[in-house]
């Protein structure tokens, strides 16, 4: 059993506080991804769990033990680093077996564990090579192998894929997911790439400036973002956000058209309240080029300034309420730049945030 609990965890470097009292409960065998822009404190948090950084305040438990003052080797964790961090002077076999060797385990046990890890990660044929003779993807697999030989309770991944090229990254993403199914361990994974977070995580933790903004399953945070930051950070392209004011049962967008108030928010807003309307490109489509929408929708004209054909769909860039807005068109056809089209906005899939707090009005 290895649940990881963080209670009011704080990290300070001198007078500068970089992590502001984080609370997080990670279940046994759960795959949790910490995601956020650089400098948000996600790596620091991971390194505190690993024991590579001191904890300035609060408490971290792994399993049932408070680990605040335990050195990394007593925490029963292993870590995969961004730059692989393989020992360049050792062969792959020695790299994999290093932790067991210094724990003075018998040689036959080490050999068995190394062979098992090499089997899982298909590294058997590279065991006698040095890291310098391996490709990026192979090095990453060795780094993962080094983590799994010890059968730790918790795996920590610190942006393990960011040094790989796009194709390899996708491939390794799948391997990590498979690995999790095979070794059945708790995984805490740090990345700045929201696609990685969405595809890998059981639960995503979105961080900004040392705070947790939202915790939820990938679909949770995509479908109901807690605030505008999460709304723009998760999902590609980022959610469109337009300022406006509630007037009766409509939203009057600043310098833009009147749009009827999405019904699901009717009871949560007050007349005259300043709000931010959020919607994804998938929910704004030109009439006649979209699937017919059911339920409440708004209709307005918009000029398309630029289009990006992606094959199955085309991304449209228009201007609405003085801001650039992205829309989508299925059944693509060639478009003239500057062409004006009638658009439909699916109100049932819209989001509404308070203009001051930027929190969702759900």
């Amino acid at each position: 059993m290895a649940q990881v609990h963080l209670r009011d965890v704080v990290k300070k470097y001198g007078a500068i506080q970089v992590v502001h009292g984080i609370d997080l409960e990670i279940q046994d065998n759960e795959f949790v991804v910490l995601v956020g822009p650089s400098g948000c404190g996600k790596s620091t948090t991971l390194r505190m769990i690993a024991g590579l950084e001191d904890i300035s305040g609060g408490e971290i438990t792994i399993g049932d033990r408070v680990v605040n003052d335990l050195p990394p080797r007593h925490r029963n964790i292993s870590m995969v680093f961004q730059n692989y961090a393989l020992y360049p002077h050792m062969t792959v076999r020695e790299n994999l077996g290093f932790s067991l060797k210094i724990a003075k385990r018998p040689q036959d046990e080490i050999d068995r564990a190394v062979d098992e890890a090499a089997g899982i990660l298909s590294l058997a044929e590279y065991l006698d090579r040095k890291p310098g003779e391996l490709s990026g993807g192979q090095r990453q697999r060795v780094a993962m192998g080094r983590a799994i030989v010890r059968h730790p309770e918790v795996f920590l991944f610190d942006e393990p894929l960011s040094n790989l090229d796009a194709k390899l990254r996708t491939q390794m993403r799948t391997e990590i997911k498979k690995l999790h199914q095979k070794v059945k361990s708790t995984i805490v994974y740090v990345t700045h790439d929201q696609v990685e977070a969405m595809t890998l995580a059981d639960r995503i933790v979105i961080m900004r400036d040392g705070h947790i903004e939202q915790v939820g399953t990938p679909l949770d945070v995509f479908e109901s973002p807690a605030n505008t930051f999460v709304a723009t950070f998760i999902g590609s392209p980022p959610m469109n956000l337009l300022r406006g004011r509630i007037t009766g049962d409509t939203i009057s967008l600043t310098d833009g058209p009147l749009i009827s108030l999405p019904p699901q928010f009717a009871s949560n807003v007050a007349d005259g309240q300043d709000v931010i309307l959020g919607f994804r490109a998938d929910n704004l489509m030109p009439v006649g080029h979209a699937m017919p929408m059911e339920g409440a929708y708004a209709e307005f004209k918009m000029t398309v300034n630029l289009s990006e054909p992606l094959g199955t769909e085309t991304l449209l860039f228009g201007a609405l309420a003085g801001k650039e807005v992205q829309a989508k068109m299925l059944n693509p056809r060639p478009l003239q730049n500057g062409e004006q089209l009638q658009f439909q906005l699916d109100l049932t899939r819209c989001h509404l945030f308070d203009a001051q707090t930027e929190q969702s009005l759900r």
Binding site: A50, G51, L52, P71, P72, R73, I77, S78, M79, F81, Q82, N83, Y84, A85, L86, Y87, P88, H89, M90, F98, S99, I102, A103, R146, R150
Partner: protein, 341 residues
């Protein structure tokens, strides 16, 4: 002219002359000899580029040839000859008669030569090992403390002192006064303080060799520390963190992760100090002059060449030193090149 002005003028002329040579010879090559224009522009550019490296390397090659290669050949020749005054000639006129390996045979018969060989061998075992070990230790420790840079400067400072200067300092350390006087040498002060009789340390056979070696260790530790400190800082921090997570203790991290990663640098430092040791002369010359069984090869050579005026045996011992240095030098260069890759 004032000597300082003369010195400045020499520096200005020397540096200016070098710059002028490189600039003007390059201009001459490009403008006059093979100008990149006319019907053969392409061919001219190729030819100019073929000549340019030799143009720039030329002065160095000539200087090395004149002051290094030629003396080696000349020393070899002298080591195979004997110098006798021309019968009935002016004082200072000599004949050089080929004698084969007679000089070498004579040298081999001298116990002092074998004493020098034995001592040099001891120096070779002790000094590079201790200097590198202390340097590595100092590099690792000073990187971990706040006043590490100040400590580093102190340890490095002996590098700036000439060998003779260092010998004078250490001669004071080993100084001995009669028993009824106060000891000014710190070693005797300590020794007497502990209840011993004052010793003339530099005359105690066998041990005095080690007292001399300490001087060179004291000087070379700073060199080793600086190079190894830079190498230690070049080790990727993540490999150290990975080892921490893997459960290594500080000693294991140092010996199993850090040291192997800077192995080639350690070898370069080791062999570089070995070369210094093989040529060691000033320290022995200034402190014991090879007496009390502290002779080393370089001092033996000096004795033969300039005191006994025996050019044949002196040159022969110089050749022996060169033969011993060469393989280590080759290995050193090979290691250094491997490290640069």
């Amino acid at each position: 002219m004032h000597p300082a002005l003369q010195g400045l003028l020499t520096i200005a002329l020397g540096v200016g002359g070098c710059v002028a040579y490189f600039y003007l010879s390059n201009q001459f090559l490009d403008r006059v000899l093979f100008p990149p224009r006319g019907p053969n522009a392409g061919r001219n550019i190729n030819r100019a580029n073929m000549i340019r490296p030799w143009l720039f390397l030329g002065p160095a090659l000539i200087a090395l040839g004149l002051y290094l290669a030629y003396p080696v050949v000349e020393t070899l020749r002298l080591s195979l000859t004997e110098r006798v005054p021309v019968p009935g000639g002016q004082p200072g006129e000599y004949d050089y008669n080929f004698v084969g390996f007679a000089n070498y045979a004579q040298m081999m018969d001298e116990p002092k030569f074998w004493e020098a060989m034995r001592n040099n061998f001891m120096w070779l075992l002790v000094v590079p090992a201790l200097s590198t070990a202390f340097g590595l230790l100092a590099a690792q420790l000073t990187d971990r403390i706040r006043w590490g840079n100040a400590a580093k400067s102190m340890i490095f400072m002996p590098m700036a002192i000439s060998f003779v200067g260092a010998s004078v300092i250490w001669k004071l350390v080993y100084d001995a006064r009669p028993i009824d006087q106060e000891q000014i040498g710190i070693l005797n002060a300590l020794w007497v303080g502990l209840g011993g009789e004052p010793q003339t340390w530099l005359t105690v056979p066998l041990w005095n060799n080690f007292f001399l070696m300490i001087v060179l260790v004291w000087i070379q530790t700073g060199f080793a520390m600086v190079i190894l400190s830079a190498a230690l800082r070049g080790i990727p921090e993540e490999t150290v963190e990975a080892a921490i997570v893997d459960g290594a203790n500080p000693f294991q991290i140092f010996f199993k992760i850090k040291v192997p990663q800077i192995k080639t640098t350690i070898m370069v430092v080791w062999t570089t100090i070995t070369l210094v040791v093989l040529k060691v002369f000033d320290i022995v010359f200034a402190m014991t002059n090879g007496q009390w069984q502290t002779q080393v090869l370089a001092n033996y050579m000096f004795d033969k060449l300039f005191r006994a005026n025996d050019w044949g045996v002196g040159s022969a011992s110089a050749m022996v030193i060169m033969l011993l240095v060469t393989p280590i030098l080759v290995w050193n260069v090979w290691n250094a090149r491997r490290e640069m890759r």
